[in-house]
Amino acid sequence: MFEGYTLGEIGSIFAMQGFAGLILFSVFVLMALGLAIIFGQMGVINMAHGEFMILGAYVTFVTSNLFAGSMPALFGGYFFVAMVLAFFIAAALGALVEWAMIRHLYHRPLDTLLATWGLSLIMQQIFRSIFGAREVGVTLPDWLMGSFALTDMIEVPINGLFVMALTLLISLSVYLILFRSRWGNQSRAVVQNRAMAGAVGIDTARMDRMTFALGCGIAGVAGSAFTMIGSTGPTAGQLYIVDTFLVVVFGGAQSLLGTIASAFVISQSQSTMEFFLSGSMAKVLTLLTVIVILMLRPQGLFSLKLRR
């Protein structure tokens, strides 16, 4: 497929393809982090994860309209405000859901699956009732549009760079929160031995609520960022959920590092195969590979070594 191209052109295409893979990687990490935290720390599979993302997207939509309507001069900066709002609104809803629903189901993991799936349907219908069945268009500030030309041939989408930076920032924050703060210490203690953690005075119920809220909040930020690259509609969350689960399960459910590694492997292989084969074929091969690896290694790429 490269006959008739100069070496320079081929080099540029590979460079751009590298960026495409990195962008996909960032998107996967952003999607999966929130789910991985909740799954890894609490053992709850949050089927409504996609809907929390779309909640973030709708918050962005509303914020952009507010800014365009009342303070057009500041429109360029609305995206940051929207992301912060998306985090807190999604986190607040997450805490509410944990309090009203999830905490009653901790000893029935299959029931949490069903309950959160029901929650996802309820949220979809609420979005539909409020914002209508059609997709809404989120207007981006001008500086986020277009691409950044490195050379004549190599152009990198600005929103891709933005997603990459955001992913880096959020991963770093999650690392600091979980591994370098008192709260993270307690949270990991609860995961490793809930009864003992309770016995030494950690409020495990509060820990659970905070963890669930954190995971949902990150989903909200991810959804906010994805208004740049995808659609915002009541059922758009479903578009992301399969890839998200794939990344989390493949990485090993209890390891954040595993989630990141798995996002990297899946995104790179998919993006490369998409380039050399076709879109559908790439998806088929990616899924096949993941299935085979999971058959050989059911615990995923990385797993926490624990005494059971």
């Binding site: 996909l24 600005i158 995808g230 059922t235 578009l239």
Partner: protein, 419 residues
């Protein structure tokens, strides 16, 4: 008790006088009405839900689930048409009543609801379905119970049922004119075909490829992405490498939004650059989600755009906005859905009967001069003769019509050599 009873008779007598008068008027009413409304026994011989002053029809679309995004407009258009028909005196003097069912974006549900409409409600016609999958699911039901379906979506063709009238365009009508136009106006030599991975884009691209190669031009790439795919950076790189004159895109649903946003972000300028983007899957409805600024400059080939400048369309757009709100947008399928009830009314009146068999017989040759798209006529093969237009997407989410075929395009659901 007794005195009260005694006091009643005079009143009773007065009452009976009034009743007698009323009775006389009631007896006269059918006679008066009969002058314009044919008796029910005459217009319905197969037990359809027709009374002396009403006739029941069904609307079968998804109002919940993923497809609700697309199907809402069709429901609105069908209800508007039915309301207008009722205001102008109904069909054969009968007011149309609607039974609406929700297909819930689930194909077996569509089949079940279709059966309910035909068997329990005995509706005289059904306006509904959107995806080909839902149409394929209800088709055996309509054929078994002999119903009549008016199907609004542009689709891949390769189908012709005695129980369906296809009010949208089939693939060749939409594709050939568009490609001819882009070859003539943009001097296109090379094409990159791209689509979502299911029957409609695949069949359409097959027809497009055949036509392109017949013109002696070249397809430099063809590929498909799963429905709901949201990452198009790799294929955009491939397109950049191949440098086609035309990107022929049939991406649908949520993927659409992702594709155009990423195309724009990747610096592939379809507005002022050398590459032309031609699509047959993006109507004004989809642009709402994509955002006009992301798709500005793309061309779409279909039979209707909201901006069409003729009297029928101006009246239609005004009526639609009055009924469903100032912000409504109207896409190709919405307009095709609006034609359904009107075509049915014309066929029923030509046949002088609601019976399905007679309506079917009367349908070919029915023409509609009041159609918002201008003029349509039903072909022997149950599809519509219609013009094809090319529109250029504008920043504000509307299309500007840049070309329309001189003649009506003949529907050809079974083009030679494409099966």
């Amino acid at each position: 008790m007794t005195p009260r009873l005694r006091s009643h008779p005079p009143r009773h007598r007065r009452g009976s006088t009034i009743a007698a008068l009323a009775g006389a008027i009631f007896c006269l009413a059918p006679l008066l009405a009969a002058a314009e409304t044919p008796p029910t026994a005459e217009v319905s011989t197969t037990g359809l839900a027709v009374t002396d002053d009403t006739v029941t029809v069904g609307i079968l679309h998804s109002t919940t689930g993923t497809m609700a995004i697309s199907e809402t407009g069709s429901v609105q258009a069908e209800k508007l048409a039915i309301e207008q028909i009722n205001k102008s005196g109904g069909v054969l003097g009968r007011q149309i009543e609607i039974v609406q069912e929700d297909g819930a974006s689930d194909w077996p549900t569509f089949a079940e609801k279709a059966k309910k409409l035909l068997v329990e409600d005995k509706v005289a016609a059904v306006f509904g379905c959107w995806t080909s999958a839902s149409r394929k699911a209800v088709l055996p039901v309509f054929e078994q119970y002999n119903g009549m379906l008016y199907y609004p979506t542009f689709y891949e063709g390769l189908e012709q049922s005695p129980n369906v009238i296809y009010t949208g365009q089939e693939a060749t009508q939409q594709i050939l004119a568009g490609i001819d136009w882009v070859v003539r106006e943009k001097d296109a030599k090379t094409f990159y075909l791209l689509g979502s991975d299911y029957i409609w884009p695949r069949t359409s691209n097959k027809i497009a490829r055949k036509h392109i190669e017949k013109l002696g031009l070249k397809v430099v790439g063809e590929e498909y992405y799963p429905l709901g795919h949201t990452q198009f950076n790799s294929v955009i790189n491939k397109i950049k490498l191949r440098k086609p004159d035309v990107i022929y895109a049939i991406v649908v649903g949520g993927s659409n939004v992702a594709f155009y946003k990423q195309l724009k972000a990747a610096g592939l300028d379809i507005n002022e650059g050398k590459t032309t983007l031609l699509t047959i899957s993006v109507t004004e409805d989809e642009i709402l989600g994509i955002g006009g600024e992301n798709i500005e400059g793309a061309y779409a080939a279909m039979k209707y755009f909201q901006s069409l400048d003729n009297e029928n369309n101006q009246a239609f757009v005004a009526a639609f906005k009055e009924m469903w709100g100032e912000d409504s947008v109207i896409g190709d399928v919405t307009q095709a859905a609006y034609l359904g009830p009107w075509l049915w009314k014309a066929a029923v009146e030509k046949a002088g009967s609601f019976d399905i068999d007679k309506v079917r017989e009367a349908s070919p040759g029915i023409e509609l001069t009041t159609a918002p798209e201008g003029y349509v006529r039903i072909h022997e093969n149950h599809h519509l003769w219609s013009k094809t237009r090319v529109g250029r997407a504008l920043d504000n989410g509307q299309y500007e019509v840049v070309y329309e075929t001189d003649e009506l395009m003949e529907p050809d659901p079974f083009p030679e050599g494409y099966q």
